[in-house]
């Protein structure tokens, strides 16, 4: 009896296994089935476009797709969005399943990863001439170039600037936002409020690392003491050098010495600024979308200059690229769609809807007098897009460096060097695998 039972069990197990294999077999078969021929005729074609969910962007793209489809009968664009937090998971899952979009919106900082993996195809030069892009777009778009080829092209870009609450400035009797590091410290002190027991009620400057703070230090403050954050060949991390230490110390001292702000006050800088409890915040232009109906006046100003008097800011962008999956008619449709998304008039509407900045100077000009956009737009000509090997780890390294100075009283130099060392290790690993 026992034996019989066991045999039955074995039978059940093996039949289950067989079924699994059969199912797996089916999956591969249908995947490998020859696709119907796609001559570049007027056969209807459907392409898929992926971006993360951001309400104003999603609504605008929905609208744009409608117009694009009207102009290009026969092409249907499937618009897929998902939460930002799931971006990488979603792509990872789609790629391993051999699926995914034809046109994808991705962060420029992830480009090395996507290009190296062979996921993207270079933009065809017939449709996107490198010389034209160079001439008609801001120089920071060069970060979309790898091995001399453009892989993505942005509709909009973002820069960092100083957001300041004009009502709080007025109340404190300060006429204009800070032009220099020293002015920033002075003004922040005047704008910081504590109650009798020392509890922070309002910060003059929102000191943060995890938001845009690390970008401000890495790409802006270091340059303002004469250090290029990375070597010219992008192989060596220089923002941890002894020369950069001055900038690091000045930055951390905003909280440690001057106590004009505090990491984590009201959770994060966006919340505090929106609540009118932060007078100044270094943030990106993308934030403007969230600040549409705040009950106070605010504007943006260029970032203050440091010891060497140079203006710098950090730029970043989400850009659209075409995956290797797009071939034949799908590729043609994808190119058309991409060209449509980077037209000057689309850029203008994009800025109006999302607060992101136009990637073409000719369009940016039109917004130069908007007080909320001005600080960001003025920064475009001198903005740098940082090269990242692993953006998340670069960020975490600087967050930890500041935390260890503030919370564990680690020496500035030791903390900064430890951060740079860990990032350098990632760079070394990345470059060792490239020919």
């Amino acid at each position: 009896m026992q034996l019989k039972m066991r045999r039955t069990a074995a039978l059940a197990t093996s039949s289950a296994l067989l079924l699994t294999l059969a199912l797996a077999g089916c999956a591969t078969k249908s995947d490998g089935a020859p696709k119907s021929g796609t001559p570049a005729g007027n056969e209807p074609v459907t392409i898929e476009y992926w971006q993360y969910f951001y309400e104003s962007k999603k609504n605008l793209v929905d609208q744009l797709i409608k117009e694009f489809q009207d102009k290009n009968p026969g092409i249907t664009v499937n618009h897929v969005t998902f939460p930002y937090e799931q971006y990488n998971e979603k792509v990872a899952a789609a790629v391993s399943a051999g699926k995914g979009p034809d046109v994808i919106n991705l962060y420029y900082g992830w480009l090395p990863l996507y290009v190296d993996s062979g996921y993207l195809q270079a933009l065809p030069e017939s449709a996107f001439q490198p010389a034209t892009i160079q001439k008609e777009f801001f120089p920071l778009v060069d970060a979309a170039k790898m091995d001399g080829k453009y892989y993505v092209v942005p509709t909009a870009v973002r820069t960092l600037a100083m957001l300041y609450n004009q009502d709080l400035f007025k109340a404190a009797g300060i006429a204009a936002p800070p032009k220099t590091w020293d002015e920033l410290v002075d003004q922040s002190k005047k704008l910081t409020k504590r109650d009798g027991s020392g509890k922070l009620e309002q910060v003059g400057f929102y000191f943060n690392t995890g938001g845009q703070g690390h970008n401000w230090y890495r790409e802006v403050l270091t340059r303002q003491v004469g250090v290029k954050p990375l070597s010219a060949d992008q192989k060596k991390v220089q923002w941890g050098s002894d020369d950069a230490l001055k900038a690091f110390q000045w930055w951390v001292d905003l909280q440690k010495v001057h106590k004009v702000g505090e990491i984590g006050f009201m959770t994060d800088d966006v919340t505090a600024f929106k609540a009118g409890k932060a007078a100044m915040d270094v943030d990106g232009s993308f934030r403007l979308g969230n600040l549409k109906d705040v009950p106070f006046n605010f504007a943006s100003a260029e970032l203050p200059v440091g010891p060497n008097g140079e203006k710098h800011t950090m730029a970043s962008f989400w850009a659209n690229g075409i995956t290797k999956q797009a071939k034949g008619a799908k590729l043609d449709a994808s190119i058309k769609f991409l060209q449509f998304l980077t037209q000057p008039d689309v850029m203008e509407r994009w800025t109006n809807a999302t607060g992101e900045l136009p990637a073409r100077p000719e369009v940016a000009q039109k917004f130069a007098n908007d007080p909320k956009l001005k600080g960001f737009i003025d920064g475009l000509p001198y903005a740098h897009a940082t090269f990242f090997v692993d953006e998340k780890k670069d960020r975490q390294a600087l967050i930890d460096a500041v935390d260890s100075v503030l919370l564990k009283n680690t020496d500035y130099k030791a903390a900064l060097q430890a951060a740079a060392k860990s990032v350098q290790a990632d760079f070394d690993e990345y470059w060792s695998k490239r020919k």
Partner: protein, 314 residues
């Protein structure tokens, strides 16, 4: 109407007389056929991915890469040299060693208290169980707001007693205990329900006899309750350990940007795995960490069931 329920049911102890007969074999075949469906589900959804992850751990498996070279044990070697991983491992043990005993002890205390009250038992049970069915992300965020250094409710209360504001989640030494506290708060109800069930099963005659013999309340608890609910304790211990080894969402919602900070002091193994897999795309490396976690859970579970299980017969 109530009588209608007491219809004759087949006596549970009675074995069917046709063991070995063709009818029985046909039945068994049917049973297996029915069972094969959940079995298939288990194989496809649980077992195969597990085995696949084990296989991936021996490769340099970057999700977007075109090739996945075999690297043998290199991922494991790297893992045990990675300070980030070692810290997460240490943290994870802190979660288990502090969280599990705390949750069990408090759960038992609450269960005993509820058992001893005569009125509103159901209400208390309901109240204590409520956090358990609340989304842990929501719980995490509410605690995060309450534990804020400036303007957080907890610090406001401390302030009334003249205690200076604490950093709590912003401190590399306090943060992990704050998170453990939130998890215990949430899991308390579950332990309580299990213990209540265990306590119900202890025959009251034992207590009555002991009381007649003049045993103190503590003696009754120590020599009757505790030994008799041992299986319940073992079960809660094992389930709790597994739960605390897999802490993720609480840390994700209670630490800044879900990074397990400050300075990695609250990062758990699962969060480490998540970051390596889905933020750095290093699937092979993350899989290796998953296998390590799997082995730890298996070892601890075996150990616990061996060591703690003691049969008590009276």
């Amino acid at each position: 109407m109530a009588v209608a329920r007491s219809q004759p049911a087949p006596a549970p102890g009675k074995k069917p007389a046709m063991r070995g007969s063709t009818l029985f074999r046909a039945r068994a075949r049917w049973a297996w056929l029915m069972l094969s469906l959940p079995l298939l589900f288990f194989l496809v959804v649980r077992l195969l991915p597990t085995l696949y992850a084990m296989r991936m751990s021996f490769y340099d498996w970057k999700i977007l890469a075109e090739t996945h070279p075999w690297v043998g044990l290199a991922n494991y070697v790297k893992l045990f040299k990675d300070p980030n991983f070692l810290q997460s491992l240490r943290n994870t043990f802190v979660y288990v060693l502090v969280g599990v005993p705390l949750q069990l002890a408090l759960g038992l205390v609450v269960a005993l208290a509820i058992q001893s009250v005569n009125r509103f038992q159901g209400l208390y049970r309901f109240l204590y169980f409520l956090p358990y069915v609340t989304s842990s992300i929501a719980v995490g965020w509410v605690w995060r707001w309450m534990l804020q250094e400036h303007g957080g409710l907890v610090n406001e209360v401390l302030h009334v007693f003249g205690i200076p504001a604490q950093k709590f989640l912003g401190s590399p030494t306090q943060a992990i205990y704050c998170i453990i506290m939130a998890i215990v708060w949430q899991g308390l109800g579950f332990s309580m329900v299990i213990f209540l069930a265990g306590l119900e099963a202890v025959p009251t005659s034992f207590y009555e006899a002991a009381a007649l013999d003049g045993a103190s309340a503590w003696a009754r608890f120590r020599y009757i309750t505790l030994p008799l609910i041992n299986p319940t304790i073992v079960f809660s211990g094992i389930v709790g350990t597994i739960r605390y080894l897999q802490v993720f969402s609480e840390v994700y919602s209670m630490s800044s940007q879900g990074a397990g900070g400050p300075l990695g002091s609250t990062k758990t193994l699962v969060l480490f795995i998540y970051e390596e897999a889905f933020k750095s795309f290093k699937m092979g490396y993350a899989s290796a960490a998953t296998v390590v976690l799997f082995l730890i859970i298996m070892l601890l579970t075996l150990l616990q069931s061996r060591v703690i299980t003691r049969r008590v017969e009276y």
